[in-house]
């Protein structure tokens, strides 16, 4: 996984991609000259300070933003087409659950929109709630669940569409550290079991190094890639791996990458 994937087989192929927002204070270069190929089954983390464009890049992949120049292909087609083909599941910072729907009906929402048959919807809700360890909570409403459980429901909902690509935008950012560690382990296990490709936005160095096969370090003004750091921990790693010398060395390299991008400057 150290080698960049061949663009032909890449799940996501990005070359020389730039995005400029026009604001009242003039144009803002949100992304500049991004090159990235993501191979099937990879777990990619995008890390960087606020304003480095990591969420914007994820949104471009999801066709929630449109790039201004360069090329991007998702599953070999444009992001818009990929979205129409339901190529990805997107998990937002907040659980974004509907308060008037039970957990089960929240998971079935995208399937209802896709027009999946009722029995299949029910079956998938059962299957994916089990996968995120929420069996028994099907008929609860979101307010009856903790923040961590709500975010797991949103993961089950993204999985229910059975996409090969998962786009996750700081999904555990709002949770306490204990819950976050727990969910990181669960996510890793889920990735191992399903073999999905994951693009994961975070601003936590340990989270990025622990989860990823490659960490993409980004820096702001303009948003660009500073460093691409491979991490090759065994697939069945536990949280203990964070105490090893290898882990600390990679974490150090990520930190150096962030420093090189002047990410620690006061401004």
């Amino acid at each position: 996984m150290n080698q960049p994937a061949q663009s032909a087989s890449a799940v996501v192929h990005i070359s020389d991609l730039s995005l400029e927002f026009s604001t009242d204070d003039g144009p803002v270069q949100a992304l500049s000259g991004i090159d990235l190929d993501i191979a099937p089954g990879e777990f990619i983390s995008l890390i960087g300070p606020s304003g480095c464009g990591k969420t914007t890049l994820l949104r471009v992949i999801a066709d929630l933003e449109t790039h201004t120049s360069g090329e991007i292909l998702v599953n070999g087609v444009s992001p818009g087409e990929a979205r129409q083909n339901r190529a990805y599941g997107y998990i937002f910072q907040a659980p974004a659950l509907y308060p008037w729907r039970t957990v089960r009906r929240n998971v079935m929402l995208p399937l209802e929109i896709m027009g999946t048959a009722r029995e299949e919807r029910e079956a998938r809700a059962v299957r994916y709630l089990e996968l995120v360890n929420l069996t028994g909570f099907e008929n609860k409403y979101p307010w009856q669940l903790s923040g961590g459980m709500q975010q797991r429901v949103s993961i089950a909902r993204a999985l229910s569409v059975e996409p090969q690509l998962l786009l996750m935008d700081e999904p555990f950012g709002a949770l306490d550290e204990i819950t976050r560690d727990h969910l990181n382990q669960q996510l890793l296990e889920l990735w191992r079991k399903t073999g999905k490709t994951v693009v994961f936005v975070t601003h936590s160095i340990p989270e990025a190094v622990f989860l990823s096969t490659r960490v993409i370090v980004m820096s702001p003004r303009p948003g660009r890639v500073m460093d691409v750091i491979p991490c090759n921990f065994p697939k069945d790693r536990t949280l203990d791996v964070r105490e090893t010398a290898d882990f600390l060395e990679i974490a150090h390299r990520v930190r150096e990458g962030l420093k090189a991008g002047h990410s620690y400057d006061d401004d």
Binding site: G89, L109, P110, I113, Y141, V161
Partner: protein, 300 residues
């Protein structure tokens, strides 16, 4: 003792009782004050010695008072609400029924129109820019001026009876519904709209699964204002159509014949009708909001 305790501690009964009692006291005092000029005039003509006690007693039982006392209005209400058959033209229940039916029809029409306009404003940019100023302008026209014209115009093309009155209720009703629904349909957070985009949901799916349910709390806030306005609209509409009945017609008849007590009785029935309607909407609202929040307790 325990019963008094309970009433005091329930926290609702006592404040309401205090307000009602003081209103009635003020009303009685007002009746003495407002009727005194007439009475004192009469005392002086007939050279009667009078005391405050006699003045008050006379003021509270005048035939044609400026302000009738509460028990006179109560008696009139008993006579016209309880004693008369509801089919009688002299029964206030009969007249309230006429007003109620035209306000309910107007309320239904106004709500439909309001929701339809709100959908147009939210979904069509041109309507968003062009429609809102007209909607606001429509509410700056005094309803008293426009009501007779609507009745006359609709009457001249052969539409009479319930419908023209409902049009006036509708005219007042649709405004709060438009304002509330536009806000409600736009209320879903950007994250939820983005999520729908990632599902490649059709505009109709976004509307029925996200925007419409999100707008319900806003809709109910508007409906409470609208239903009260619909009663006002119906009564105003009945003023120029005096002969056909309704609480508005009753008000007009009362003022023709100087029957102030009759006017007060009709006013009280009108406010009871409004209060009952607002309460009914509030009750439906509580059920709807409870469902929308997944059974969580809600305060309205």
């Amino acid at each position: 003792m325990t019963m008094i305790d309970r009433l005091v501690h329930q926290g609702r009964f006592l404040p309401v009782l205090a307000v009602v009692t003081s209103l009635i006291v003020i009303w009685y005092a007002g009746a003495v004050y407002l009727n005194s000029t007439q009475l004192i005039d009469r005392y002086q003509k007939q050279e009667i010695d009078w005391t405050i006690g006699r003045l008050a007693a006379d003021a509270w039982r005048m035939e044609r008072p400026v302000l009738p006392s509460p028990h006179q209005v109560g008696l009139e209400l008993k006579k016209t609400v309880i004693d008369k058959r509801v089919t009688s033209k002299r029964s206030l229940v009969y007249h309230a029924g006429i007003t109620l039916s035209s306000s309910l029809l107007g309320f239904a029409l106004g709500t439909l129109l309001g929701v339809a306009l709100a959908i147009g404003i939210v979904y069509v940019t041109t309507l968003d820019r062009s429609l809102m100023p007209w909607i606001i302008a429509s509410q700056t026209v005094p309803i008293l001026a426009i009501a007779p014209m609507i009745i006359v115009v609709l009457g001249s093309i052969g539409i009479t009876g319930l419908f023209p009155k409902s049009v006036i209720s509708m005219y007042l009703c649709f405004f709060p519904v438009v304002v509330g629904m536009v806000k409600g349909l736009r209320s879903p957070e950007p994250i939820l709209v983005d999520q729908m985009h990632t599902y490649s949901a059709s505009p109709a799916q976004v509307f029925f699964k996200l925007r419409l349910p999100s707008s319900i709390p806003f809709l109910f806030a508007s409906l409470k204002v609208a239903i009260a306005l619909s009663v006002v609209g119906a009564i105003v509409a009945e003023l120029p159509t005096g002969g056909q009945g309704g609480l508005g017609a009753r008000l007009l008849t009362g003022s023709y014949y100087g029957q102030i007590t009759m006017i007060w009785a009709a006013l009280i029935v009108a406010s009871i009708v409004s209060a009952l309607l607002v309460t009914a909407i509030g009750y439906i609202e509580r059920i709807a909001l409870r469902r929308l929040s997944g059974g969580q307790a809600v305060s309205t």
